[in-house]
């Protein structure tokens, strides 16, 4: 597995003193669509801005294809960003933005960019300030894709879009991904979208990584156990409890394990991605309950 983005004890604290990201060690595989999920304020934007070099770490390191991000122009050429709410220059027209992309990027693919704008049916002479959120997001995506990056970073690209614009946007994104061998890192709190487009997942909460791994592996190694009420601490050592809930007589556990569940007292069911993400987002963050292990590409942060 080649790493597109690698972080090592990456931490970021803003001037006001809050740790937006704490001790985050991650490997995001190249060539995949990585989903970054978490509630607002979990540190998603911070992590993405660190990856594109808009922010620099307070502690720890981050590298994109082995080099610190934004260190040189050639390194900047390898990343593309669609920032949250797709900021553009309000007085510059759509055509001006393409011109901007062309004059600032040696690898600019003008045909693709022009074709995309054409297909979107946008008036090239319209100032960006008068575009809708969906149109702005599409321009931002065009700018980011046409510079032919190796990593495309999207920060909540569809959060402010209506369902139709959202579908069109994701369609455009998937086309761009299919056309080029591209690593995509995408943050969202819309789990449906994540489930549809991502094959690797990172769950962030309170600035820490809760779980990270390929979606397939995550689904295969997490099981829901239901049975008579009992103490989850007496489970086999290789079964890690992510979430436990008890009613008067029944216990329901979400456990992560590589091995089959042998205890016949449990009714074992598979879990869907949405429930898995929600369980990790809601899980308490005391280290004792979430030991750090890395196996089969599944990492659980501390």
């Amino acid at each position: 597995m080649t790493a597109a983005v690698k972080t090592h004890h990456l931490s970021k604290r803003y001037r006001r003193g809050r740790w937006a990201l704490l001790d985050c060690t991650l490997t995001l595989p190249a060539g995949k669509v990585v989903g970054l999920v978490g509630v607002n304020g979990a540190g998603k934007t911070t992590l993405l801005h660190l990856a594109v070099g808009l922010l620099r770490p307070t502690a720890g390191t981050i590298s994109v294809f082995g080099e610190p991000p934004a260190a040189r122009a050639t390194q900047l050429a390898r990343i593309g960003l669609v920032a949250q709410d797709a900021p553009l220059y309000p007085t510059l027209t759509v055509a001006d933005h393409l011109r901007l992309g062309r004059s600032l990027n040696p690898g600019w693919d003008h045909e693709t960019a022009a074709a995309r704008i054409d297909r979107l049916g946008l008036d090239a002479d319209q100032p960006a300030g008068r575009l809708s959120g969906g149109q702005r997001a599409q321009i931002a995506l065009t700018l980011a894709v046409a510079k032919r990056p190796d990593v495309l970073v999207l920060d909540e690209p569809v959060a402010s879009l209506d369902p139709l614009a959202r579908r069109e946007f994701l369609q455009g994104l998937m086309e761009a991904v299919a056309a080029r061998k591209l690593t995509v890192v995408l943050s969202s709190h819309l789990l449906g979208d994540i489930e549809r487009v991502c094959d690797h997942l990172v769950v962030l909460a309170d600035g820490r990584v809760r779980v990270a791994g390929d979606v397939e592996d995550l689904l295969a190694t997490h099981k829901v156990l239901r049975g008579r009420r009992r103490d989850p601490r007496r489970l086999p050592a290789d079964q890690h409890v992510v979430q436990a809930s008890h009613t008067g007589r029944q216990t329901t556990l979400l456990v992560r394990t590589d091995r089959p569940i042998l205890d016949p007292a449990w009714t074992v069911t598979e879990i869907n991605l949405e429930d898995l993400v929600l369980a990790y987002m809601a899980a308490p963050s005391t280290p004792a309950e979430r030991p750090a292990v890395a196996r089969n590409g599944v990492h659980v942060g501390r």
């Binding site: 934004a70 990027n105 040696p106």
Partner: protein, 335 residues
């Protein structure tokens, strides 16, 4: 990068160039007439230190009348003081702060151009326009006011900053100052206000503290003195330069007064005269016996360009220092 920098700046540059063209045209049209009026109206005689032959009018009256007829002297002088500050506030402060505020740095800083190059191109482009505009305006005004400046006033602090090369150095300094303050504060409006305040504070500090010290002023000793009741016009006319101080000393070199005059009763006491109402003759005799003389510390008018070069050099150095800080801050401290 040059294209983007120019695209973002061209509207403001156009406004500045149009305004500059209007002013230069106005100066070109009125310049010859002003020179003629100056020569014909007796002011040239005043400038040369001669009495005028215009009858009852004194040189003071002539100067006042001249200023009334050419309000542009004062207006453009003020404009040249204000222009560098405006460049700092309206071109410098939003240069980085405007992008941070609108979030467009998230577009600019993820293209295949480093922040250093981005800032370098923006600063040099805006800086070039700022320097050209200020230089043309200042030199045109210096030429236009050259005849009236023969009255010896252009080296005085009131006019010094409106002529020659200093406005250009001020403009360059104000631009990087505004950019630096905008980068640190990250919000355009507070950055504009802060830029104005800091710029004028620095200007004032240089004017009142550094400028008199960069070159050695000359000292002129006059064997004359002035009593309090004398006509101010009788004072030694050291007005062909920038007077830093006028002190009245006695023959022993003791400073009796630093205001350029000495009180009648004080002089009378020193000579043992009745303090009530000494006569003019008595006072003159008294002054002679005490060896009263004035020592004037000043920059003569012919040091104008030397002083201009020195002041400009100070601001060029300041520009370099603030500029270096600005690059460091944008590269290392934003984000």
């Amino acid at each position: 990068m040059t294209w983007l920098a120019w695209r973002q700046f061209r509207a403001r540059a156009a406004v500045a160039l149009v305004a500059l063209a209007v002013v230069v045209l106005l100066l070109a049209v009125t310049g010859p007439r002003l020179a003629h009026d100056f020569a014909a109206g007796g002011l040239a005689d005043c400038a040369a230190g001669r009495e005028t032959d215009t009858g009852s009018l004194t040189c003071g009256d002539l100067v006042r009348g001249f200023i009334d007829r050419y309000p542009l002297v004062r207006l453009l002088g003020t404009a040249l003081v204000v222009l560098p500050a405006m460049i700092g506030a309206f071109w410098g402060a939003p240069l980085v702060a405007g992008e941070l505020e609108a979030g467009t740095h998230q577009v600019a800083w993820v293209q295949s151009v480093t922040r250093t190059r981005w800032l370098a191109v923006k600063l040099s482009l805006v800086g070039a326009v700022a320097v050209v505009v200020t230089a043309i305006l200042s030199l045109a005004f210096t030429w236009w006011a050259s005849s009236s400046d023969r009255l010896g006033s252009r080296i005085s602090p009131a006019h010094f900053a409106q002529r020659g090369v200093t406005p250009v150095a001020y403009a360059a300094f104000a631009l990087v100052l505004g950019t630096a303050i905008g980068s640190v504060i990250r919000r355009t409006l507070p950055a504009m206000a802060t830029t104005l305040a800091v710029f004028f504070a620095v200007r004032q500090a240089v004017e009142s503290w550094a400028r008199p010290r960069i070159l050695d002023p000359i000292e002129i000793s006059h064997p004359t003195f002035t009593f309090y009741t004398d006509e101010p016009a009788g004072r030694v006319a050291a007005d062909s330069g920038w007077v830093l101080s006028t002190q009245t000393l006695d023959s022993a070199g003791q400073v009796l007064s630093s205001g350029g005059t000495i009180r009648d009763d004080a002089a009378a006491t020193l000579c043992g005269l009745p303090t009530a109402s000494p006569t003019k003759a008595q006072l003159d005799a008294c002054g002679e016996s005490l060896g009263l003389h004035d020592v004037v510390t000043m920059f003569p008018a012919d040091r104008f360009w030397t002083l201009q070069a020195a002041e400009a050099a100070i601001f060029v150095v300041l520009t370099g220092a603030v500029g270096a800080f600005c690059f460091w801050w944008v590269r290392q401290r934003i984000g």
